[in-house]
């Protein structure tokens, strides 16, 4: 039952615990009736015997333009990637714009140009859309929603239920780039080496991995809001196995780490927009890394952890760079910069 004085907080949109609670207790029961056991990045739908994958995502990033991308590019990459990590080739998308009154047409044109460029890169078609304008103050410049349909690759079965103790956890490159770029733009932090979002379409690099490794790839997810911490905690909660991560192995851009340190943020909680986590069989680890590292979006691919045995109260544990250990919790939802 909802308490009358409960309000939606910013943290409810953060990809962490509060969002999970909102979906489980409020949105899910209303929309699904019976909550699905697992909520994946895209939903499998059978239409007249044909399996498709369907996903949607909304984009409210601030600022709208940032080094390495903009809201337009993000709106295509985000949905393409949600389909790709579920093993689907993206085919068609919708594009819905909610524009604030007074928004500069020149900015809209820049965003649309970016969308057009990214659509070509993703080899996907926007086939339908919608445009709304709301009065000044009712939207922060522009909000975008995209939805996408993809065809799942044959012979691929990805899911939490395929993850087993001994599997290895890989990532295709440096962490925290997007989140820290956006945060440092908002806070006007001047860092000596400029930060850049990693916003990119991952369908091709993922396609290569799936084509060459097939069922040895067990699960994938892109660590957007909530970062690696959110994805690995979802793994633990859904399959009951522990996860051990190694700090030494986490690929990090030193400038990104410096920005996170200044603001007091945990790198594991920071959003990524051009990265995916893949859980693969241990015997496929080296081949997987070779495939990733041979692709421009995977040059810094690394094994960042392993899946441990199933046990009650499984946790995500980080082995720190000095050999200590600590827990990695599901993030709350928003990172607050420290005071001093």
């Amino acid at each position: 039952m909802t308490e009358q004085n409960d309000k939606i907080l910013l943290a409810h949109g953060g990809g962490g615990r509060l969002m999970a609670e909102l979906i489980a207790k409020t949105i899910g029961p209303a929309v699904y009736g019976k909550m699905p056991q697992v909520l994946a990045d895209a939903a499998g739908v059978n239409i007249d015997g044909r399996e498709i994958l369907f996903t949607t995502d909304s984009f409210v990033v601030k600022p709208l333009f940032f080094p390495g991308g903009d809201i337009g590019r993000l709106s295509i990459c985000g949905t393409v990637n949600d389909l790709a990590v579920c093993g689907a080739k993206p085919i068609v998308m919708s594009l819905a714009l909610i524009i604030e009154e007074g928004f500069a047409v020149s900015d809209l044109e820049k965003i649309l140009h970016s969308i057009g460029k990214t659509v070509k890169e993703a080899d996907v078609a926007i086939v339908t859309g919608d445009t709304k304008v709301v009065e000044k103050g009712a939207a922060d410049g522009i909000f975008i929603n995209t939805a996408g349909i993809g065809i799942p690759k044959k012979g691929i079965a990805l899911g939490f239920d395929r993850i087993e103790p001994g599997d290895v956890i890989l990532i295709n490159g440096t962490i925290g780039d997007h989140g820290m770029t956006v945060m440092s733009q908002r806070q006007e932090l001047t860092i000596q080496s400029p930060l850049q979002s990693d916003c990119a379409c991952l369908h091709k690099i993922i396609g290569l991995l799936l084509d060459q490794l097939g069922p040895k790839v067990k699960f994938m997810r892109d660590p957007t809001r909530g970062g690696i911490a959110a994805v690995t905690n979802e793994i633990v909660q859904s399959c009951g196995c522990g996860v051990e991560l190694w700090e030494e192995n986490l690929p990090v851009n030193p400038a990104v780490k410096a920005a996170a340190d200044i603001l007091g943020f945990d790198m594991l909680n920071i959003a990524n927009e051009g990265k995916f986590i893949a859980v693969v069989s241990a015997d496929a680890e080296q081949k997987a890394l070779d495939i990733l590292r041979n692709h421009p979006l995977g040059k810094k691919a690394a094994r960042i952890g392993t899946v441990g045995p199933k046990q009650p109260h499984s946790l995500v544990e980080l082995v720190t760079s000095i050999g200590g250990r600590r827990i990695v919790q599901m993030p709350y939802g928003i990172e607050l910069p420290r005071i001093c």
């Binding site: 309000k7 910013l10 007091g264 000095i322 200590g324 827990i327 919790q329 607050l336 005071i339 001093c340």
Partner: protein, 354 residues
């Protein structure tokens, strides 16, 4: 990070603690140290007889309930904008928190500069800067008042909640906690105060005081020096924070504090009233004092029922010894400020400990 230096510090700690034999309690005064000790996994690597006690060096945690309720009350005025550091928005007051109120006039700022900018950009509103923090942030509030004066801003005020670390350390040793054998002293506060500020603590209470920064190498070196002093039974002030911390500190920053603030006996959550433990804005700058501008009589409020933040802040208990910890008081639904603050001991324990 120099792995050889880290290994060497670890060995020194092991050897010194073996020599000491008995359990020793080292208080890490600063909340950032508390978090770093967990985040780097240092806690899991220390000898069993070396116990780390979290101290009251978390500005949000030691801000008393009365101050929090005052901010929440002011936030509900339509003629004000509240400018606050992020952590404060989640601290629960009597009935709610700034976060749960979700008011459009509450703005999270990274610095006192941002609060002055708000005043400049919103001439129709009175800005109330939630000025909490120790000596690290106090000079910035002073500078903000000077900037406001220079810009001729009549609408900038600060609700002063600034506190001083040394009186709190003294209060802890004067009866509140007899399990503190040494202090790992706060890095950034010491940049301002200087390492020399701890000499009276060493002289009067015979406890090592070692200043360290926040990188893992620094923290381990600081702990190594403390353990060696305890093993030798010879106590002194020391610093591993290099050139950042001078014995005399930053005189300019100290002067700014002296010019704009005077000492007072304010309430500290968990420690009660500490003589000269707090600061208030000098009468000369009354126009920037939100307490005077709004005629606020801050009444100390009762702590939430069952909340043992006070004992955690004194290092008397570990967070998991509080009955509310992990049950009624969690990261998502905090009861007390130690669970809210990113530097709070309870939050760190909850986030990083099994």
């Amino acid at each position: 990070m120099r792995l050889d230096a880290i290994q060497s510090a670890r060995e020194q700690i092991e050897n010194a603690c073996a020599k000491i034999g008995r359990p020793v309690g080292v208080m890490e005064v600063c909340g950032t140290h508390t978090v770093a000790l967990f985040r780097y996994g240092i806690r899991s690597l220390l000898p069993k007889n070396l116990k780390l006690l979290s101290g009251p060096g978390c500005p949000v945690c030691v801000t008393d309930q009365g101050y929090v309720d005052t901010v929440i009350e002011l936030a509900q005025r339509t003629d004000c904008l509240i400018a606050t550091y992020g952590d404060m928005i989640r601290v629960p007051g009597k009935a709610t928190s700034l976060e749960r109120l979700s008011l459009p006039n509450v703005r999270v700022v990274l610095s006192s500069d941002d609060a002055v900018s708000l005043a400049k950009n919103h001439p129709d509103k009175t800005i109330i800067f939630v000025a909490v923090g120790f000596e690290t942030t106090t000079p910035a509030t002073a500078v903000a008042m000077a900037q406001a004066e220079k810009l001729g801003l009549e609408n900038f005020t600060a609700l002063c909640g600034h506190k001083r670390v040394l009186p709190a350390m003294r209060a802890l040793l004067s009866g509140r906690n007899d399990k503190i054998d040494a202090f790992l002293c706060p890095g950034h506060v010491s940049v301002i105060l200087g390492s020399g500020a701890y000499e009276p603590i060493v002289k009067e209470f015979h406890r090592p005081c070692v200043v360290a920064g926040f990188e893992v190498e620094q923290i381990l070196s600081g702990l190594a020096k403390i353990c060696e002093q305890l093993a030798q039974n010879e106590f002194a002030v020391d610093s591993v924070y290099g050139l950042a911390v001078r014995p005399e500190g930053n005189r300019t920053a100290q002067q700014w504090i002296e010019n704009y603030f005077e000492l007072c006996d304010g309430p500290w959550r968990g420690l009660g009233r500490i003589p000269e433990g707090s600061l208030r804005i000098r009468e000369k700058y009354a126009k920037f004092d939100a307490q005077k501008r709004f005629g606020i009589e801050q009444m100390p409020a009762e702590e939430p029922r069952g909340c043992l933040c006070g004992q955690v802040l004194c290092g008397l208990i570990e967070p998991n010894q509080c009955k509310l910890f992990g049950k009624k008081c969690t990261l998502d639904h905090p009861v007390g400020p130690c669970m809210v603050s990113t530097e709070g001991a309870c939050a760190a324990w909850y986030k990083y400990q099994k």
